[in-house]
Symmetry: C2
Subunit: 347 residues, 2 copies
């Protein structure tokens, strides 16, 4: 099976710090290679992979302002350079955003598409609906709910290489937030929980340009270096260290997030998750076993008080059972075979 994985080019694959789509794409690519598939990754030239790498864009568009100013052009060149080689592959799997589906009518190789949450954008919805008969892979039931009318051929959760994550059996002494410091990510709720429980909070992640006002008004005033501490963007290793030393991950999101990979990464390290009942949280967190799925800040405060009763071994084994990269790769391989078979039957 010759597979082309078409990654986004906003960040490196895998990302240096932030970049959920790129991290998930990297996890899939590496696991497919380990499974023995013939994989070519189309991503930025600085990407790191055990697959064959093909690149049109030298550096991540989000890391190079000059390239970023022409992101539309570079995204098109990136995608077209892959699709022009369509005949070399049995299947092309796009993770590169909604505009890619517009090329599907011109390809004979099947184009499998993962939305990565872009089904929430009105602009993208129009494109996906128009090309709704393409084979889509949902990353959660939450993702399907955003655009139920698409032709989903599978729901496949993101996976991680559990064995590569460190594990801490003992509960730590601080609460942890990891992710974009954005309003929808509920940073202000995490701050409120820290204040009400008196347990310190560590915030890690990027402040996107469009969230600067939110950050300076609703987060920065609470940064005292003691109760609430901001450590900036972190790479995977530093994030894992933070997870191993923490008491719980706070994932108090205010939107229908389609997959919070950070929750899985945290649980792999043994860290329980306290999350709001939105988006993928109820699918990813085993309530009462690997964390608590709650409604509102009051319930989150109560959950923090109970979180020491959870077994950190349980968190890790839950990830090994449900969110292993191997399982993700196997499910994708089956899906690719199914899609290729359907195309052959039709032809």
């Amino acid at each position: 099976m010759r597979v082309a994985i078409l990654a986004p080019v906003a960040w490196r694959v895998p990302p240096r710090h932030y970049g959920g789509w790129e991290q998930a794409t990297s996890n899939l690519t590496e696991a497919l290679v380990r499974l023995g598939l013939d994989v070519t990754l189309f991503a930025t030239a600085d990407s790191i992979t055990s697959a064959k790498l093909q690149s049109t864009v030298p550096r991540p568009l989000q890391e190079d302002p000059q390239l970023g100013a022409c992101s539309r052009a570079y995204e098109i060149l990136h995608v077209v350079s892959c699709l022009q080689q369509a005949e070399e592959f049995d299947v092309i799997h796009s993770h590169a955003g909604s505009f890619v589906v517009g090329y599907a009518p011109f390809l004979r190789t099947p184009l499998v598409v993962t939305l990565h949450g872009s089904g929430a954008e009105p602009d993208s919805q129009i494109l996906y609906r128009r090309f709704r008969f393409l084979p889509y892979v949902a990353i959660s039931e939450a993702e399907r709910r955003l655009l139920p009318e698409l032709n989903y051929v599978a729901t496949i959760y993101h996976g991680v290489e559990v064995e590569r994550f460190p594990f801490a059996a003992e509960h730590g002494e601080y609460l942890l937030f990891v992710g974009r410091l954005a309003r929808v990510k509920g940073v202000h709720h995490a701050v409120a929980v820290a204040k009400r429980t008196g347990i310190p909070l560590v915030l890690a992640g990027i402040v996107p340009p469009e969230e600067r006002a939110y950050f300076s008004q609703e987060v920065e005033p609470h940064l005292d270096g003691k109760l609430v501490q901001f450590v900036g963007p972190v790479d995977g290793e530093r994030r894992n260290q933070l997870c191993c030393g923490a008491l719980a991950l706070l994932h108090l999101v205010e939107y229908e997030e389609t997959f919070g990979l950070t929750m899985v990464e945290a649980m792999a390290c043994g860290l329980p998750v306290i999350g709001f009942r939105r988006g993928s949280v109820p699918e990813l967190v085993a309530h009462g076993r690997t964390g608590f799925v709650v409604d509102g800040v009051d319930a989150a405060v109560e959950a923090v008080k109970q979180v020491r009763s959870l077994s950190r071994e349980s968190c890790r084994s839950w990830v090994a059972e449900r969110f292993h990269a191997r399982r993700m790769a196997e499910a994708h391989a089956r899906t690719y075979e199914q899609v290729v078979r359907q195309v052959r039957v039709r032809a």
Copy 2:
């Protein structure tokens, strides 16, 4: 010869008031039909044409905020709906912007491309350069200078149906500006010329959202309803009336405009043009015969004093000779034949 004309969908074809690309595309489409070609126009559903009309976008993206908010998606659907039917045409001629060239590798029908000045945009330059071997039609030598490395198969000036324009043999008593009220269009220079000559100035056109600050700071303070008057957007009929009653068109642009169609429309009505030596002005205005090509406001003031010496008949005959829609259509028809022949030879 079965020709698909792929218009932009920002405005109707022809535009109700503003929309240079759409006006030029309309002029070409109608002239090709008169020439006897089998033309299908892909444009907004409210477009008016004697060609066959095919539409994906119900209303112009610039006139409907809801559609405009998803302009990327609608532009893709519009373009793809045309290109999916490529086999039905001998040639596809795109006027719909730079992203269209990314589909060229997937088409067997030749794709002729007109840039309409988009060669000045850094983002578009990257796309055009990558697909520089496509057959491009330049609309002026000024356009070629922006991106000289492209494979231009012809330079064809925009044309108008001269006979349909009214004509006034007598000079009028006011100066006229027609176009986007934008800094690069030199509205402030036109105001300065009016003040220095004491001759009234009429401003007609849209104020684009991104030019509101410019308009309110550098134009609005001078609007006294006497010396400087702003009449808002005008349709073709009203513009022609204004041209017939004016002394000269002021086209004091500050950028390398690739074709100022307004100048041709004005001269068709007999109105001389005073323009800055930038972009297409020296190609479109016969200096000393149909207007004056000048450097700076001082020279424009001098030119206004001499403009009554010019013959308005000369302005119109210049347009009939060089900028007739029939000539534009004939040149395009020859270019299409040449491109189709080259593709056949290669195949």
